[in-house]
Symmetry: D2
Subunit: 435 residues, 4 copies
């Protein structure tokens, strides 16, 4: 997480201010629940909210205390006591630091996920809009980077839409994975704290109680969470690589938007680089990398160790902030993507009709020509196109062996692009529920 | 995937025999659908089933043809024609190799997943059984590898159960991810094949049609699938590491089962190594590693390239076979795990009652002793235990300052383990729905 | 490691036959050294060689014994005793299984590395030959996939050569990392075996003694080894991606060789797919993935555990066999790469001279035109090229403001490609030591 | 890279101030070289140094310009012109941004590596000191976490020393990998800049010229660099895991140092957690994770793309800062590690002499007892120890069948720990060159 690749809203989730605010809320809600149980005076629980509910925590002061105590939660509680006064002694009763830290991480990840879900919604909206806009823009489909058969630019974008819609579903699942709360005390036995406290805090913080925690929330949840982000990053990479390909000098079927100021070099008008999609390719590599340490975090020793903590202090912000930034950059890029249908058309016809050779071959055999002969006929005309720059349709029309089998209309019909796009509506119906 | 770490049922899914059988079924079902559409003679579709429905494909023959044609699907179709005869020309019409290959991979992964789900069920059953068996076996909970507070061995196993139940849910989701079928022809436009063919094949093969394929099924699905296996592997590692710790010479609260034959070395009765759980730790590393190339596979170029293929030829079998083997090994290990409640008890009392020092401290303050004094009282008795090997309870009972605040009964009550286990039923209810 | 991506010579290193042969040699050399020390009768040491030096070990028999004993080294030793007779009791004295297993793995990895080094030499020879062949073939250099400035195809290949030469150096270092021998007995203290035995075995097996082993050879060595293979794989990916780009329909500056038989589809002469380089891209992902578990293997518990073993049984063959296959495939691909200098020239001139706009701009300013004016002059001519398809040189020659600053010769000189290639010799001298 | 896990000296390398200072030096040295060639007035080159050689660059101002130009190098050059005046037009002639950026990254990585090498030297010194201090402290060696044979604590540390010495060698190699300089202009052809400029800048910046760059320094170098850091991190993990194991409550052979203030809880004197080594375990996971994106960066498109940049902006600081912090934390931890030889001794004797059973078994057979009988004799005494808590030596001395074969002295001799430590000097000589 570096400022260059951060958006303020997401970065704020990981600020000390937010963290201490969440810690406070967890502690104060827990105190309420304990007051309900009669463990803590109701008046005390109320005082905690009254005195600190709108207080600004002094980060420097907390840091100062932590330098002494070498313990972040104790430092916070000490500072809280400075604000709340004597009633502060009722805070954190029977709880462990992990109760606060792990539940706080859940809240942060849930909030981060809600931003990511909104990001995905904006991306999906952009993709849908552009897909319909270019639904019928015929373009050559490519397998292995080689011209294959025609498709439409809309179908390409429909594919991206479907892929990110799957990403959205995955992210909803991932959110559920980490939306749990543990207020279960040392080694998770509830010996010193009643399960109803956990239930209350969970409800207030928008979480569910962790069925069985062992002081910590089990880290398979976080492993699944960060792995899901890594898969989403891989989909970002796919769409970015597509744009990079489309913007290649020799292809140039689409381009990232260049603001007039940015372009600068109209002395080299060809030199517009797909720097956003390249940047996204790199960011995707980073988000993907964070999955591995998250998975290595799962095997904590016995009830818990603290090895996961340093990892999460880094990948918590790094993964969510970077993915948020990448999704928004991708959305902007796709919204403004400059599309060149004429170049698509030109590229499609690069080999002057050869793209239709398969259909002609099939038509010949269906007209009764033996497969060997049909192949020979197509081939001799195809090679004239390939080697001499001839036009495939004209060659076929002028080949009397071909004409013996197929009429001019029949031949021309094989060059109809509509043949390839006839199911685009079907595909759009499947993806968008409309076409 | 090496024989040493393979089970036959799972390995069979990846055999050439199975693969060609699935290829045949896809082709034959597709022919049925085309016959229904009138594209292919119904008689021909029937002949395909009649001649090859029960045929054994000759792997060597197919390999021989592939060496010539350098194309596996063509080699198979050529061999199929040798079996079916002239009607074979109606097979594969309008289809691409990817239609067959990708749909086959889906079928294989679905079948593999069904085995993995059954594995998980067996593991869950074993964990549940052992959890209830040791529900009340009090043992020391450890944070950082250091004695913390008491818990029960059953709670440890309940945690593992809950974790693998989450893994099961994830695997069900992952199965849904890859249970799709694409019969959409070149670049996925259905230009040469009707979508109804795909629908028919999908239904017959137990899959859903891929909403939009681009000749290939999009690889974000497989990335999610293999990432899920990687997370499950991480949970295997966690439980294996727990067993390795429990079996340490100095801990010895549980041991992998050693068959009388295996033990051999009763001249060194202490030398029973947790080789199964160590082996599982290594296998987990492997399954985890396969997630990365699966994620790198997502960004295929344009409509498709073939870079994913070599990866999947390896990780398809490697990840599923290894995970299946690991789950079954883990299940067997947990079913037979030899548990030593007496050692648990002995370890718990290693420091002669010190484990209860926190409760005594709290009791003193609740009895009106100032926090500073209470701390000093506990500390002076604790240090006698720690440094001189005294018994904590006896020291406290003999400390007149302590006794001034707490009666003998009150002190003894603090040494009651029931305090720590009172919510075990709650936890079991949460995890198992019963206690 | 699957047969499809294996070469026999490398696969043979990992066969049971080779493994048992190496085990035998380690044991027999150790016996020699012990005979020299007087611990074992010289006659016995000789008998071991006489009876088993040329024997064929019966893999099935060893497997049968292992099924009983569940220990591979004991199974081998038992079978060895069946061959050697009573003198077999002098084999393995004071040694542990790890002494045999780890030293054997070192021998296997060293042999594998020697093959990989030979692979690299063949690749380097191919790259050098092709680099000199196309040293002066001017082609457009591309940054961001966008035309930048001219370079030559030879320089591209010189870069690849330099990169793989670095890979060779890295591999030599990696070979040294794992070329160590440990015959140090239980926990590596030499309590039961003299260090001179290790020295003797090391020398005979082409290894160096491990300075301090703890029963096992430390796994940081293997981590470094497999990480090095992963980096080499990444370089394979780079060159493969370059070829994939060059073979794109719109670029087509080079193509993988297609044998006449393979081509088949001259009805679609454009449809030649870069399947080898795509395949290599996938294989690179796999070799890269194996680095991670090798690094996770480093942190064995205390003197050793066995978690590394399952990993190495898989990645030992998988990584070396796959990398060997990939290097040889890459070498063949580069040796036969079909290069199209005419297309390079055509692509270079795609924008009719615009590639020289920067030089013209500079020349104008050097001729005293203000930077703003120079920019405006170049821009107005560039835009005619970009938007109207004009020829840049002709436009400039016909622009009287330009001509006021530069003569025709001066302008024409800016279109000289020799300007860009004047240091190609320098680069070749640096890379190849000749030009 | 987060402040919590950063040391100022290393973090400073990655500050904007340092970066711009290096950029300036590259530009100014390049100008010198160009002045030498007569391309730039010598006076101008001197002015650049005079005006900006000691100037403080205004980061905010540069950021402000970058927000406009969206180009960091141009922003810097613009600001530099504000300082230098008209002579600034001679700066950066014929160069590309990559010349500055890539060479700067090399300088930063070289400086970072020099700190890391110094870190390793401090760690090695600490390990050596502690190794000699505990050279003869006999402790039980453990395989699989199970007691095996005795070794010494010094040997454990000697192993760590040897491992980190290998890490040092690897780091020296890695430093050489990235200590290169590219000042080769667009696509690396030197068309606009003489190679002698590169040679001059390289020498001044402590680098070597890159033999062939393609505008960028090839990223296989960086992949190797970050992979090497990842391997070093894995060795940090190994030693940290060792300490975590040693500090386990049941083992307690060593402990991280707790300052009196930190301990706090002497009411729970057993509750000292190995938080430093756990923290290091997590940090190691992070440094390891950064290797993967560095390897994915290698396959840039054609001469270059910019996808590597976002990755390196993150992992450049993240990997070096984290590794530096981890190495220093590890060094401090090992320097102050509290070692408990008495506990080592106690643990060694946990099974009252059973650790010597193997030697007794061997002695019996050497005394002529059949292997079966010897085994039976040892076993029956061993089981008394294991099951009834007897003392192995006493049992043997009292077993008349044993005594029939071995004298009391012979039996007692088998319990001599010196047998296991007799080659410790050898090992120390190998590792440290002294003993």
């Amino acid at each position: 997480m570096i400022p260059r690749y951060s958006r303020p809203e997401m970065a704020a989730i990981w600020s000390p201010e937010t963290k201490f605010r969440i810690w406070f809320e967890i502690e104060a809600h827990a105190a309420d629940a304990m007051a309900e149980l009669g463990i803590v005076p109701k008046e005390a629980a109320k005082t905690i909210w009254d005195k600190a509910g709108n207080a600004t925590f002094d980060i420097d002061r907390i840091d100062e205390i932590e330098r002494e105590t070498k313990h972040d939660v104790i430092a916070f509680l000490t500072h809280l006591a400075e604000i709340v006064g004597p009633e502060a002694r009722f805070v954190h009763q029977g709880m462990t630091s992990s109760d606060v830290l792990d539940t706080c991480l859940s809240v942060q990840l849930v909030r981060a996920t809600d931003i990511l879900l909104a990001d995905l919604d904006r991306l999906l909206a952009a993709l849908k809009k552009r897909a319909f806009e270019h639904k019928d823009a015929v373009t050559i489909g490519r397998s292995h980077g080689i011209h294959a058969e025609p498709t439409t630019f809309g179908v390409k974008l429909a594919q991206a839409y479907a892929e990110f819609e799957r990403c959205r579903t995955r992210l909803v699942n991932a959110r559920e994975e980490i939306a749990t709360c543990a207020i279960s005390g040392a080694v998770g036995t509830f010996a010193n704290i009643d399960p109803s406290v956990e239930a209350h805090v969970a409800e207030k913080m928008g979480l569910k109680p962790e069925p069985v925690s062992t002081q910590v929330i089990p880290r398979d949840r976080h492993a699944m969470y960060f792995s899901t982000l890594a898969v989403i990053a891989s989909s970002i990479e796919r769409l970015s690589v597509e744009v990079r390909h489309l913007q290649r000098t020799e292809v140039l079927e689409a381009e990232e938007y260049f603001s007039p100021g940015q372009k600068g070099s109209s002395a080299m008008p060809h030199k517009r680089n797909p720097v956003l999609s390249e940047n996204l390719t790199g960011l995707a590599r980073m988000v993907r990398a964070y999955a591995m340490p998250a998975m290595e975090n799962v095997a904590l020793w016995h009830e818990r160790d603290i090895s996961h903590s340093s990892v999460e202090r880094m990948i918590g912000p790094d993964a969510t902030v970077t993915l948020d930034f990448a999704l928004m950059r991708l959305t902007g890029m796709m919204e403004k993507l400059v599309v060149y249908p004429e170049t698509m058309d030109k590229n499609l016809n690069k080999f002057r009709g050869l793209v239709h050779s398969q259909r002609v071959l099939l038509a010949l055999t269906q007209a009764g020509v033996s497969r060997e002969d049909a192949y020979r006929l197509v081939q001799r005309n195809a090679m004239k196109v390939w080697e001499e720059g001839a036009d495939f349709l004209e060659e076929l029309l002028g080949d009397k062996d071909v004409r013996a089998a197929l009429s001019e209309d029949e031949i021309r019909e094989k060059f109809d692009l509509g043949y390839h796009t006839k199911h685009v509506d079907t595909i759009f119906e499947r993806v968008f529920g409309e076409s």
